[in-house]
């Protein structure tokens, strides 16, 4: 493993371990306050955990276990951090900003400038070289910040929601730049945006409450989520329970019947999940004709427009929140409103059942 980390910080309820292979980009997904920024801070050396250790390619970044007290300062770690705000040094020009890393490593002014120009070309920002940061737009500043981080030749690149502060026109441009420069480079990108995960990450790690709850190759996690946050990102309904013959049984006693992979037989009693898209859910008032499978009593919590459909959010008690997408006409016919008790019926052919 080219990078591995293990750390815990009680004050922030944080306890995680992570490893990266050479050239791999990992996306960290999770709700606010889950500990994503804490993770990056610990790796970069800006935040000291209570215990743990980390190595990059054989070099020990820190070791606070079992009485040892080794802690490399941030400037010795070879990890460059890129945040939501570009944080370009306001008193230096763009090219001097990018040359900062090489100069700090001891390069001469001329050599550093040359490296800087190269990286500025790499991020399509050569024309901005002589401007001052105050003269750049948000998107331009972020691209320069990427160039500055890369010019420092880091072993591991850390990106903390780099697209979050950009407007809708600038984000795709930066995403394309990042896709290009992150190839063959170890990087950890913290993000809210599923598009970032799909485009840039080989692997995805989902964190909640300071702990890792799910990880795996990007497509696998987002198409077959096992955590509620990942399901939310993927736009799927998710219920957890124990596997049975037909599907899963939730702790509340509801049975979700569905399809599983042909090559895998469910082991009854094991933990499992059922995932289904909102479009597979129909809404009925009162009892339903013919008592089909997958019929559940729920209470509507919210109605919102979703593309050309209406998304009905409802609460299924301790089984969590479920969503259904129906046409506006259907919603009007049914007279739906928050607080109403209705029945959700899910087509079992569209429910995926797989192990947790």
């Amino acid at each position: 493993m080219s990078f591995e980390l293990r750390a815990s910080l009680r004050a922030r309820n944080f306890d995680m371990s992570l490893s990266l292979a050479d050239g791999e980009t990992v996306a960290i997904l999770g709700p606010n306050g889950a500990g994503k920024s804490t993770l990056l801070g610990v790796i970069a050396g800006l935040l000291r955990p209570d215990s743990g250790s980390a190595r990059i390619a054989g070099r020990q970044l820190f070791n606070l276990d079992a009485g040892t007290h080794q802690w490399d300062a941030p400037h010795l770690r070879g990890t460059a951090l890129l945040a939501q705000e570009a944080l370009l040094f306001p008193h230096l020009s763009v090219v001097d900003n990018v040359a900062f890393g090489p100069r700090s490593a001891g390069a001469s002014k001329a050599a550093a400038r040359e490296t800087a120009q190269r990286w500025l070309a790499e991020v399509d920002a050569s024309s901005l070289a002589d401007r001052k940061p105050a003269q750049l737009s948000g998107g331009q500043a972020q691209r320069v910040a990427v160039a500055r981080a890369l010019a420092a030749e880091p072993e591991l690149l850390l990106l903390d929601e780099p697209m979050a502060a950009l407007d809708i026109h600038a984000a795709p441009l930066l995403r394309r730049v990042l896709k290009r420069v992150l190839k063959d480079r170890k990087a950890i990108i913290v993000t809210h945006d599923v598009l970032d995960a799909y485009m840039l990450a080989d692997r995805v790690v989902v964190v909640e409450n300071g702990r890792m709850v799910e990880e795996g190759p990007t497509r696998q996690v987002l198409e077959r989520p096992r955590s509620h946050f990942a399901a939310g990102l993927a736009g799927l309904n998710l219920v957890t329970g124990t596997l049975g013959r037909e599907g899963i049984t939730t702790p509340d006693g509801r049975v979700f019947a569905g399809q599983h992979d042909p090559g895998w037989s469910p082991v009854p009693g094991q933990a499992g999940v059922a995932a289904f898209p909102p479009s597979s859910v129909s809404v009925f008032l009162g009892d339903v004709h013919g008592s089909p499978r997958n019929s559940y009593a729920v209470t509507i919590t919210d109605l919102e427009p979703h593309g050309d459909q209406v998304r009905v959010r409802a609460s299924a008690g301790s089984d969590g929140a479920l969503s259904a997408d129906i046409t506006p006409a259907a919603s009007a016919d049914l007279g739906l409103a928050p607080g109403m008790e209705v029945r959700f019926v899910v087509k079992s052919a569209l429910v995926s059942v797989y192990p947790a």
Binding site: H75, F100, G101, A105, S137, A152
Partner: protein, 280 residues
């Protein structure tokens, strides 16, 4: 900040026309302004204008002015050399006794300068804490220009520390964190990121220190003595002249006021530039 949002901020300042200051405040502010301006005007009226130039260019006057400018410049440099590390440590450091240290550093601001002079005497005087050993080493501080610089530094240091500490706190240390992750050693971060970013605050603090040093009287009198060309700074010269030559005293006072106004004008310009830099 994007170019268009910067423009928006500017236009909000000039086109609204509503500044939210009640009218009666102007009356009270005028009273405050008069309190400061009237005594200066009264002094201006007493100046013996025909004799003005000969009075301020007399040998003793020029000696005092030259000494004042030289010692104030030296003490400002000393304030910067000692004050920058102090401000950094108070703003960014974390160590036991930090709050206590800040209180002590700010003490000269509230201490009567004469008390400061007495304290310096007990430290550096011939019988003083350090003075005894210095005397044996052949270093004489009392009655020397060095004593003047020490007295001025003692009273002016807090001005620089307070000004710079404020600037350091509001700047935060995000840029320093980024610089560190880019591989810059702590000294490099200080040299290339921290200090350039707080330069306006440092400049404004230095100007205040210079102004305070220029006007220093009580500590100098008690600690350094009063000898023309060596320790008799402009305030001391004015104090002496008023015994016999009121015209000379008033004329020299006017010179001191003029220098002070110039210094304050520089400081205000610096503060405006600092505010603009922070907004960007």
């Amino acid at each position: 900040m994007t170019p268009d949002s910067a423009h928006r901020k500017e236009s909000m300042k000039t086109t609204t026309g509503y500044h939210g200051v009640p009218r009666w405040i102007y009356a009270v502010a005028a009273a405050g302004g008069l309190l400061v301006v009237l005594p200066l005007a009264a002094m201006l009226l007493r100046v013996n204008w025909p004799q003005f130039v000969p009075l301020i260019t007399s040998e003793s006057s020029l000696a005092a002015l030259g000494l004042s400018l030289r010692t104030s410049a030296a003490s400002t440099v000393l304030c910067i050399v000692l004050g920058v590390p102090l401000a950094l440590v108070l703003a960014r450091g974390e160590f036991p006794g930090q709050k206590l240290l800040r209180s002590f550093v700010l003490l000269p601001l509230v201490l009567p300068p004469v008390v400061g002079g007495i304290a310096l005497l007990y430290t550096f005087g011939r019988q003083g804490l350090l003075g005894k050993s210095l005397e044996m080493a052949g270093v004489q501080i009392a009655f020397s220009t060095t004593a003047v610089v020490l007295a001025q530094t003692f009273v002016a240091l807090p001005f620089l520390v307070v000004s710079l500490e404020g600037a350091l706190r509001s700047a935060g240390n995000r840029y320093e964190a980024v610089a560190a992750t880019l591989g810059a050693k702590p000294t490099t971060v200080l040299r290339r990121v921290t200090l350039p970013l707080v330069l306006p605050g440092l400049a404004s603090g230095a100007v205040l220190s210079f102004a305070r040093s220029l006007g220093e009287f009580g500590a100098t009198l008690t600690f350094a003595g009063s000898l023309e060309g060596v320790t008799r700074t402009l305030p001391l010269e004015i104090y002496l002249q008023r015994e016999t030559d009121a015209d000379s005293a008033v004329a020299l006072s006017l010179v001191l006021v003029a220098v002070a106004v110039a210094v304050v004008g520089l400081s205000y310009g610096g503060r405006r530039r600092a505010a603009a830099a922070v907004q960007a």
